[in-house]
Amino acid sequence: MIAHEFAYERPTTLEEATRVLTEHSGSVRLLAGGTDLVAWLRDDAVAPDLVVDIKAIPGLDTIELDGDELHVGSLVTFTDLIESEVVAEHAPLLIEMAETVASPGIRNRATMVGNICSAVPSCDAGPVLMAYDTTVHLIGPGGARSVSIDDWFIGLRETACSDDEVVTHLTLALRPHGGVYVKLMRYGGEDLAQAAVGIVEYPGHEYRVAFGAVAPTPIRAHRIEEVLRGKPLGEEVIADAVALVRDEISPITDMRATAEYRARMCEVMLERGLAASHERLEGAGPAYGTRLI
């Protein structure tokens, strides 16, 4: 039961949605899958006057390949990603990540865009979207604008999205690549990440590395990427990268894991993840979806 009362609107166009948001600026929450929002409403963690359900707006639930860009609408669920042939062929890391999110009953409802809008530290989509050079597209009263995923996460449950804006879709810049999403958790099913890393290697020895659940937001590991840039992966190069892990992350101790365990496992996950990404770039290595830890 939710103790707090609120009004509910279900606009059928983006224009109507942004108008409603502008009129109620400050005490409104957007509803897509609701797997975070309804739990937060029940906990009184949020107490909006108005909930705006965007599920009746057409066109937000599509996955589209457009040349070397992949557009993922804000109503695309984790199950939609897992079942998409286009995603399997062009952005398989999204599926490797989506398969680790909770269980089917959540994935059938929860959206990837909702995941980055909730912006909890263990947000699974964050590290992978960072590794895929993603752009977030929004629409608001001033029109459309876009934000790089690197500038998206501001803090705990805080993003670059204003109260009067709606995310319409994400654009992933596609290139040939090999990647991994390695998620440390106590058990499958409903557990959140204790630590996670998303890694992509592009041809020409260009790398992306981003961590989850070891800082207030998902974080891109720029120093690690820099030390790897232009270098073929070998034992020494990987060791140089691993030596930087503790400079990049700021894990805490909580009910899921100690800070030391998280830090040590990030080192292990980076070491194994870099090797697996490279093998996958070369068309070998463990199939996407194989657990590395």
Partner: protein, 156 residues
């Protein structure tokens, strides 16, 4: 607000508040008691229902969101006679206290509709969000695998 809800192929006209959660409306207003109130935060799976054939946590859905969609609970699946899967749950002794059973039957029903002969891994993955504190899961997994084997025999 006025809400028309399709539950197990029956139309219900209800007056609900936006803050009313679908699980509570199903149990208290519609009278379908098979979705259970467990953790009420999406962790345990005991409130699982099908919306348009997909398993969903009804504790994380507002009732108003369900308008225009088809809701299925165990009352709908077993309305005329028990499903093959339900019979296999009985013959495999897959229940003890039974609290998790409706959610697990629905999660497994979704799996078998999409993947008629699942592997053990497929079954474990499909049921990974449904907690059972009695059985140790093995008799449940055996029942779903047996349903898959029967599907295979039928299609062979």
């Amino acid at each position: 607000m006025e809400l028309s809800l399709n539950v197990n192929n029956e139309e219900w006209a209800l007056d609900v508040a936006p803050a009313d959660v679908l699980l509570d409306v199903l149990r208290e207003r519609v009278g379908t008691k098979s979705p259970k109130i467990g953790c009420e935060r999406g962790d345990c799976g005991s409130c699982t229902i099908l919306i348009d054939g997909r398993s969903v946590r009804s504790c994380l859905v507002l009732a108003v969101e369900a308008e225009g969609h088809e809701i299925t609970t165990v009352e709908g699946i077993g309305a005329d006679h028990l499903s093959e899967l339900q019979n296999l749950f009985i013959s495999n002794n897959s229940f003890q206290c039974g609290f998790c059973a409706p959610g697990i039957v629905l999660s497994a029903t979704e799996l078998l509709a999409r993947n008629p002969s699942p592997s053990r891994h497929d079954v474990q993955e499909a049921l990974s969000g449904n907690l059972c504190r009695c059985t140790g899961y093995e008799p449940i997994i055996e029942a779903v695998l047996a349903a898959g084997e029967r599907n295979e025999e039928v299609s062979a």
